[in-house]
Amino acid sequence: MTQAPPAPEATPPPPPPPSAMDTAAGVGSSLLRSLVMPALALVVALVIGAIIIAFSDVNNVPLLFEDPGAALSAMAREVVAAYKALFVGAVGSVYAISETLFAATPLILASLGVALGFRAGLFNIGAQGQMLIGAMSAVWVGIYVDLPTPLHVLLAILAGLIGGMVWGGIAGLLKARTGAHEVITTIMFNFIALYLVQWLLSIPLFQEAGRNNPVSTAIRPTAQLSPIFGGSYRVTLGFAIALVAVFFVYWLLYRSSWGFEFRAIGLNPQAGAYAGMGVATAVTLAMAIAGGLAGVAGANQVMGLAPYKATTALAGSVGFDAITVALLGRSHPIGVLWAALLFGALKAGGRQMQGAAQIPLDLVVVLQALIVIFVAAPALVRAIFRMKGVAEKPAQMTKGWGA
């Protein structure tokens, strides 16, 4: 992956026995591994989630001391009910699938940005801020420009793209020109964006008339993303845009010369520079494109969801979920698509679980964190399942900011 051996000491780790570089493991096994590991990670996460559900019930835990059998069966019933609701809510009906795709849409877009960054050796934690700025740019076009539908939608999406590109590009430019570590700057830009948007939503340019809280005017109907499968399903054209973005990023990374430079610099920037690549330009451009993708995700959050208004909460947790999705998808566009669909399914199912089984939606967040930690530490999963096999070197996404 974005393996940039920092120093001579970067030989394989001690816990898994030293072996050849993991790229040498072969194409076939890597495909298997990229499916098996996430699946096992999901299983382990669901098991831990079940334990959390069982032991967080304030009625069943005291019962455990009086009547262990009854308590355990009550816990089991609760876990089964919760996971059944999770499954049904994710893929149990056409509506559920539509909800899954709906939840996956911003995740796909923002995660593509993070994945693109990883490929270029950049850790973009700033999707959250880039989404906010992209959304506000799209909202401005949505409110103030008067155009017929397809053009208006396109222009608003373009505005979101540009807004996000500028916000991500600043971090890239700072990195390229001054060496400021992108992890630090993008974290800071997340907060700067948050306060900037909070302010923008309190001035007459954006704020809905008669409001005291930060909420924007609704965008014009011509700028709204229309549902694909009719009004009763929430999937919009945004999902189609996300699919286009998947192919665009795939093309960019693997079929264009810029993508080649991104990947080369991500693997070894010194070598890239030695080969005559403009590292500074590539870093800035990669961050700008990553930001642009997140910006489109932000635009989607306003243009594809009633009441079509911007708030400071419009990005939700998508910006941070995007990091986990990109990791789960191994920073590959197609992998990101599947990972985003999985997390979208968890989110859609989580809502059903909250409604039908009274298990708070936050459990899904815990599951996501667990899945990613098991994917990031394959040795952990291997130890749990007593698996033997090719020792896999965990990816170092970043160089520390000391160097």
């Binding site: 920092p6 959390i52 907060f191 590292v279």
Partner: protein, 427 residues
Amino acid sequence: MTATATQAPTDVPALTRATPEARRATIIGCVLIALAVVVFWVFGLGAESGATATFNLSLPNDTFTGLQWAFNARVVAMIIAFILAALGAQRLRRAQLKWTNVILGFGLMLFVVAFLGWAAAGSSFSMVGMLRSTVIASIVITLGALTGLMCERAGVVNIGIEGQLLTAAFVATILSSAFGTWAGVLGAMAVGGLLGWVLAWLAIRFQVDQIIAGVVINIFALGLTSFLASRVLSEAQDLNAPARISSIRIPLLADIPVLGPMFFDHTFFIYVTLILVGVLHFALFRTRWGLRARSVGEHPKAADTLGIDVYRVRYRNVILGGLIAGFGGAFLALAQIARFEEDMTGGIGFIGLAALIFGRWMPFGCLAAGLVFGFSGALAQKVAILGTGIPSEFMLMLPYLATVIVVAGVVGRARAPAADGQPYIKG
């Protein structure tokens, strides 16, 4: 990331006419003169002629009450503008290299005084109240920064401070409600340390990218505490009612005007934090432990060669850092708010990370940065109350902007420990 990409223009002296220091002096000279112009036009000419601004320098239940500083806002602004312009001109003319950051800090302080005089012209506001809330706000920020300091000095980047604070606050709330204050504080520290251990374990044993491990800890902490809050705390509300920790007034010292209410009339958390800063400074730079920790953070291979157990030092430091974060979480839950709310940290762990960087990986730097960031938060509140028309959002942005400026090296570069964030593989 890379030597090439990170190469600052200042690293190639052949291509630039001035040395980096001289360039910095020039930039700061220009900044000071720009501040002078703003002070002159906006705060000087902009203030109502003859309007008096009153800063109250005592709180109602102080030993000495009624202290205040009343001044003509316009005259004071003019004087400050003159001083700023003089300082800036001196920087530019002689390309002065020494004391550059001190002068800049002093200039910014004068700027803030002029600004407050302008904002309070014709009315009065409680200066001491603001300074006191600055100190209170700075405590969690400083503790978060010290957490990061412990980890990063030993070469482990900790992005998970936010998650550690949040989980610790949650545990402190429950244990304090059930078993009393001390159980809450100790339990919070224990869980902070536990999360520190998890971070170190993932980073060292499994060589998970440290930033990823930190991000995951944050997500996990937010998810788990929110889940348990809505599933357990909403059912058993007596678990979400910790006793608020009361202040300990230090005799005599608390009677000093201004400084007394600022520093010496608080909960024990604040005294412990202030002492901790000094202790950590001594420990890092004057003890064998500190030398070893720093060597592991700067050059683990050399440290290993000399027989220092790199992994052990890293584990220990990250866990100690976790204890500090746990203490900070307990402060939030037991002294500040006295109940747990979902996502109650609201990003303060990241401000702590910013303070660590702004404070240049030094204990007293962390404290100073904590105070500056706490001040900008307190200022934002005051500005909103005084109704100056300046959006408080811009004040809240300042800590983050300042940090970006520092990492970009515009006014002096902050340098992290050399091996910060890099896994060490014994070979």
